[in-house]
């Protein structure tokens, strides 16, 4: 068993106990829903991009890079569909 951190956006770091030989791809799958990780988000460890087959080590911080801000496009689609975010004025 080893302990790693999983980070996405400004979400709090998730300290995760993972089994040995767990890859970035397996971590991505495990945390996709809870952290709402977007498809295709690049993973970095220690600032260096790694592939999904990278095997994590004890103490690694795996950060999935959030997509770059575009300009309201995704939320625009929600608005078009009649769904406003609950915090919109």
């Amino acid at each position: 068993m080893k302990r790693i951190k999983v980070i996405y956006g400004i979400n709090p770091h998730h300290n995760a106990d993972v089994v040995d030989e767990m890859t970035v791809g397996q971590i991505r799958a495990r945390y996709r829903e809870v952290l709402q990780i977007q498809d295709g988000a690049v993973a970095i460890i220690g600032g260096e991009p790694v592939g999904d087959d990278y095997v994590t080590k004890d103490g690694d911080s795996v950060e999935f890079v959030k997509q770059a801000g575009k300009k309201g496009w995704l939320l625009g689609l929600l608005a078009i569909n009649g769904r406003q975010p609950s915090y919109a004025p």
Binding site: G47, V65, A68, G69, K71, G72, L75
Partner: protein, 234 residues
Amino acid sequence: MNIKCIGIGGVGCLLISVLCRFLAFQSAGKQRISITLIDGDGFEPKNKERQSFKGQGNKAEVKEEELKEEFPQILLSSVPEFIDRFNIENIIKEGDIVFLMVDNHKTRKLVSEYCCRLRDIVLISGGCELTDGTVQVYVRSENQDRSFSLTHVHPEIESPADRSPAEMVSCDELSASSGPQLLFTNLTVAAFMLNAFYVIWIKQKPPYNEVYFDIMEAKTRVIEIKERREERKK
């Protein structure tokens, strides 16, 4: 100092006014400041809650006239066109400082890839959704990358699914391509872009590769990026 401001929308309007004020008085008489505003779009009244223009017309041209009156110390000019692969060589030159404030990844990719071929360039790119956003900083000097390009860890920019305004065929398509925005988020993007500019101006190096923020959480996160590591594979 030659500055190019691409995209005079919600972020651009806020950034340019502050940038002009800073440069007009911080560097008065010390060096020649040239700022070129680039945007092919016209001001629409529906955007008045986030954008400030004194009159109707092309955004770059109207803003140029406004700023010329207020900051005669700065050499202002405008290009009333969307940037595209045909005009980019005439707009972005060696040694420029480029503020990229557009609403599509297709243009980000175009500008980033073009800047990667230059010898000396500073590219500061900002974008946001409704309440969160990103600022990326790409610096290249003496033919060496000092930080990573906009596409480096962003497949959504490397392979953009959208179209640039220059490729859109109708005003309706152009109008529908952008969703709701919040002035405060635009302001935060502008502030981070100017902060990056200031650090580069003072320290001659990029402050970071990328910063992500969320105004609902009042949190930011700097994403440090290095070269790809040798991978430990199964």
